[in-house]
Amino acid sequence: MTEIWTQAALWLALALIATLAAIWLRIATALSEIVVGTIAQLIIGAALGSALLAGDASWLKFLAGAGAILLTFLAGAELDPVVFRQQWKRATLIGLVSFAAPFLGCAAIALWGLGWTPQASWLAGLAMSTTSVAVVYAVMLEFGLNTTEYGKVVLAACFVTDLATVIGLGVIFAPFTIKTLIFLGVGAVAFVVLPWLTPRFFRRYGNRPSELEAKFLMLCLFGLGALATWADSEAVLPAYLIGMVLAGTVGKNHALIRRLRTLTFGLLTPFYFIRAGSLVSLPALVAAPAAFVILLATKMVTKIAGVYPVTRAMGSPRQEAAYTTLLMSTGLTFGTISALFGLSHQIITQAQYSALVAAVIGSAVVPTLIANAFFLPRHLLGAAEQDSSRVPDTPAEEPARRTSS
């Protein structure tokens, strides 16, 4: 056990460094963890041998995999089911456009431009199709759009985009066999039963120090995850769907969600993201940087070409539509999950994985930099100039984004 504890201590030291860097630089911890993992692998691997980090140890793979599953569940649980039911038609349209444009564009570029295999190209398309719901949510709050119809539709659309990505991940690379049918059948039953059973079960036995809620949820996630991988699919697919179907019940239990976040961010996701970073080959990336640049540019161009006209058609002002669309090009979690799925299933090579993860990291940084450089806060001046006579003495607009007054 000494070796395992030593490795665990080393990984948690890296996680701590990554967290401190994220605090200092005001960036997402996941982003910091991927970069720290890449650098640590390069330095520790070169100095002391790659075995020291031991990213392929089974206990570490379990922690990392559990991190991806719980993170995906929590992402799905952020859905607002009431809004989604109200706006599902338009949300589905925008979400599918937001998914399909970069998915097809990046797959085409990978296939015909970079000469990747068809399977690797589809994987690249999936990894680059994602949207970070949370980043768009933050933008909606900033503009006070979260309570408007436009904001609700765009937010719901982001869930559709990510759902399309995880369904693609779970379906495209899985052979359709009797196992697939069993997985789909059991999954369908679970997704109908869980929203009914879970709140009743929690009301009857929950709210005790034994943390029954967390155990029950992890049982469902790991059980359906096992079934998914048995059917050669991907465990994050049922996790995201369970999150979505429980969003109206478990998702509203803020205390439980906070406890699950503590478990996920405190122990599990550092292993996932540092491992994802440690598998990146910097020498391969430096030797052939074109793939990374081309994939990132294609994602941004296709996302903007697909989503911007739709947001404009919905009546969003040009500057806000551009800002929202740019931030819909971000997507770290599901992009990394897709890339790691491709590497672990030998759909892509390590060089292709490195290019994809670099492009995914770029997609978390570059669109935000562009959006802030060109639209913050200059768009406010534009609005003020156009509307300089507007109600200077009336109470503040967008009261919904305020939390006290």
Binding site: E78, A138, F265, A364, P377, S404
Partner: protein, 142 residues
Amino acid sequence: MIRKILLGYDGSASANKALDFALQLARTCASELHVLAVARPPEFGDEVETKAVIENSRRHYEQVIGGVRAKLANETLTTRFDVVIGHPAEQLVRYAESNGIDHIVVGHRGQTLFERWLIGSVARQVIAYAPCAVTVVRHRPP
């Protein structure tokens, strides 16, 4: 005539200096005093974590604003307290525009080099884009 003063407040030492200044100014001019705290998401965000940061940050600033509210409870001034989400400079300017603010008061404190490179100083951005006069109150530690 200064009818409405906006104070950007984050609970820091320089913000407390700015509060003292704004309070004095509001008393002198018999102005309304608006106190705004801005909860800020990560610069480059990610799933789940961004929402968690926003929630934590919002809770923190509601406590911070609560302290100011208690401090001003015995004042006869008209006061208003808000917590919003976003970039501090952008939200201060936005609030000033939509509320007809005549004067903005902000504290000034050192930031990391990375933050300065990325977005510049909040005070500098407010000065650049504000629709009204701005006072920057510097805090010099003893």
